[in-house]
């Protein structure tokens, strides 16, 4: 406990040393739950475990390691998207273009591979292209003071329109490298396995955690979300950081598009419609405040897993129609927001 108090970045918990240990523990838990920083993430973690346990009790075969790993396998692209979105939302912005950019990078990859380009050229090219798109959006937001909502909306229209211009029908991918990356299962022992996409997604998460918590850039991201004006007065590189988060989001969207093509092995202009909403929902469920300043990448990953576990339960239930997914996600968003409100309001 004292060690926690000594750490400079931890919030000072109003725990008096004279309290009896049980009450002190209670106070610590209450403080953690009601802190705007940790509370929502803890609630999400508890909820994820609860839903998983409920699923395990209700359905035979649910409570297995592979069901959990499949959450990662099926949602690896969404995890990457949510990581990029977390950066943007932490600065108080929003990126509506990610779904369209996922579709666009899938389309470009599919059509270039079809004409015989090598994957070792295509993938870097895609990542550069989507990063440049992010850079343009960031410059539009920062230099021309266009609201993030509108600037990324324009980018969404642009990316979706370009998808149709590449092709109006689905293009399948037969490139051996892509096919092998899509079909490889990496055994983890005991009948468990994951795909290369999961490893890529986890690497992205690890890098994002490191950048946000251990670099000057990461601290500036939090500072901008907490108050752009104060950040400027402190002499932080606000302009550069604000543009860079959109570049990061663009890069993550491009990478997510590549992972998505590993998953589907095709490019189709209508894929990933509404994925930006899933990504935003995951970030919000993961406890990041939309006004910026509070939140964790790992929270967003938890958010993606919660969305995934709901989908898995609906699949296991069998009788529920697919549209129930959307209603559940909506209801879950509601529960979370109310919980966040109640928890943070009780803190005086």
């Amino acid at each position: 406990m004292t060690k926690l108090l000594d750490a400079p970045q931890q919030p000072k918990l109003p725990v008096r040393p004279s309290m009896p240990p049980a009450r002190r523990l209670g106070a610590t838990i209450r403080n953690l739950m009601t802190s705007p920083k940790y509370g929502p993430v803890i609630v999400t973690a508890v909820l994820f475990i609860a839903v998983f346990v409920i699923g395990g009790v209700r359905y035979r075969g649910f409570f297995s390691g592979q069901v959990f790993l499949n959450l990662l396998v099926d949602n690896s692209y969404l995890i990457v998207l949510a990581v990029g979105m977390t950066f943007v939302i932490l600065t108080g912005g929003i990126d509506l273009s990610v779904g369209a950019v996922v579709a666009l990078s899938g389309m470009i990859a599919a059509s270039l591979l079809q004409t015989g380009w090598s994957p070792s050229v295509v993938i870097p090219l895609l990542l550069v292209l989507t990063s440049v798109l992010g850079l343009l959006v960031g410059l539009m937001i920062h230099v021309f003071k266009v609201q993030p909502f509108i600037a990324t909306l324009a980018a969404m229209f642009l990316a979706r329109g370009l998808c149709y211009m590449v092709s109006q029908s689905s293009i399948s991918i037969t490139d051996p490298v892509f096919v092998s990356l899509a079909q490889t299962r990496i055994p983890l022992g005991g009948n468990l396995s994951i795909t290369p996409s999961v490893i890529i997604a986890l690497i992205v998460v690890a890098i994002a955690v490191w950048v946000l918590h251990s670099t000057r850039f990461g601290r500036t991201v939090y500072a901008i979300g907490a108050g752009e004006q104060s950040g400027l007065l402190m002499g932080l590189p606000v302009a550069r950081t604000k543009v860079l988060v959109y570049v990061i989001s663009g890069f993550c969207s491009g990478l997510a598009g590549v992972l998505f093509t590993f998953y589907t092995l095709s490019g189709y202009p209508l894929t990933a419609i509404g994925t930006e909403l899933d990504a935003i929902a995951a970030v919000v469920i993961g406890g990041t405040l939309l006004t910026g300043g509070y939140g964790f990448v790992l929270g967003s990953v938890l958010g993606v897993l919660v969305l995934g576990v709901i989908q898995t339960i609906i699949t296991f239930e069998g009788t529920l129609s697919s549209w129930w997914t959307r209603i559940f996600i909506g209801a879950l968003l509601l529960v979370f927001i109310i919980l966040q409100k109640v928890l943070t309001a009780r803190r005086r």
Binding site: I94, M140, V143, F144, K145, V146, Q147, F149, I150, A151, L153, A154, A155, M156, F157, L158, R160, G161, L162, Y164, M165, Q168, L277, I280, A281, V284, L290, T291, S321, W323, W324, T325, R326, I327, I329, G330, A331, L333, L334, I337, I338, K341
Partner: protein, 348 residues
């Protein structure tokens, strides 16, 4: 003269109107009969009438959206509300024994509008009473709403054969399309109620500072609920027109992306997403710009698949032209011109 010119350029509707005129000009060059309006079978007929008629649903939603945005809010759920109202109306008409009778259609429309009012109150409750950020509060209904619409239509496209209902979407009265008349009535009501009373000023004051307005005696909460309810009501009207036009309720595609078009119309019209100031005339111009753009794509012969790229270009252009950075650069340019002209006079 130059002072007048400067004032005209500085007007916030200058660039949107210029954009509209440029689009008209492009149309006129591509299709010389663009401005001709003829009377055929007692109906007005021509490209301009088409623009008005097809743009009516977007305009109606944009009017509601303008008031929401003026309170520093946003309503993402309008597309879902469109789908729900269409689904409700169609399922009532299908379920009745006399789908063609006027009373059935009246009941269907009334119930659809009533449900929309409930949805609007729900949005308003979340924003005003619970205190959720508007973008998240309406994101909940946006995500869940299409699921609810699917639930009502049981996942099918409901086709109705009811002349009075069809009349709502494609009928004429005194030669004018019904949809245009409805849009005109909504516009007139919104303009009269908010601009001829103090309501508009209250809305703007809540957008500037809700707490200060509350202390000045403005009932911010009630006002917010009313504004969100009005927005949902507008969305339901638009949804009914859209559904009646095709005589089919499609829970997935009715009003898809219409929230984005409506927000764009509002922003092109010079209403800031930061709230506190709005222009209904601007919204009218914005909605016309968007619809004319779509029409232009068809008349000029650009493949319709490129519409979205084109839209992105126009949105970007208008946003950049309206940006304070551009205004400053233009002012600097004019001043330099004036200095040069002054030197010229001195030299002669």
């Amino acid at each position: 003269m130059s002072a007048l010119f400067a004032r005209v350029v500085a007007h916030r509707l200058f660039w949107p109107v210029v954009m509209l005129l440029v689009l008209f000009l492009i149309n006129l060059i591509a299709f010389p009969g663009f401005f001709t309006v003829t009377i055929r079978d007692g109906h007005l007929f021509g490209s301009l009438i088409d623009i008005l008629r097809n743009g009516a649903p977007t305009l109606i939603i944009a009017i509601g959206m303008t008031l929401v945005i003026a309170t520093r809010g946003i309503d993402l759920s309008v597309g879902a509300v469109c789908a729900i109202s269409g689904a409700v109306a169609c399922s009532i008409i299908l379920g009745s024994s006399e789908p063609g009778s006027l009373s059935t259609v009246a009941v269907a429309v009334a119930v659809a509008l009533l449900i929309a009012l409930v949805l609007g109150v729900w949005n308003g409750f979340l924003v005003a009473v619970v205190g959720v950020q508007p973008i998240i509060a309406t994101l909940i209904l946006m995500t869940a709403g299409r699921g609810i619409a699917m639930l009502i239509t049981e996942g099918q496209i409901l086709t109705v054969n009811s002349p009075p209902f069809k009349f709502l979407g494609s009928g004429f009265w005194l030669g004018v399309p019904i949809a245009v008349l409805i849009a005109a009535v909504v516009f007139a009501v919104a303009a009269l109620v908010t601009r001829r009373t103090a309501l508009g000023m209250f809305i703007e004051s809540v957008g500037i500072n809700p707490e200060a307005s509350r202390q000045a005696g403005v009932r911010a909460r009630g006002l917010l609920v009313v504004v969100y309810t009005f927005s949902a009501f507008c969305a339901a009207i638009a949804g009914l027109i859209l559904t009646a036009n095709t005589a089919a309720a499609d829970a997935n595609n009715t009003g898809l992306f219409i929230e984005l078009d409506a927000i764009l119309a509002v922003v092109i019209g010079g209403t800031s997403l930061a709230g506190g100031r709005y222009s209904l005339v601007g919204t009218l111009v914005g909605a016309l710009v968007i619809q004319t753009l779509v029409t232009t794509v068809y008349t000029v012969g650009i493949p319709p698949i490129a519409t979205m790229v084109f839209k992105a270009a126009v949105v970007t252009a208008v946003c950049l032209l309206q940006s304070p950075t551009t205004a400053e650069a233009l002012r600097g340019f004019r001043e330099r011109l004036a200095v040069r002209a002054g030197k010229g006079i001195a030299a002669s």
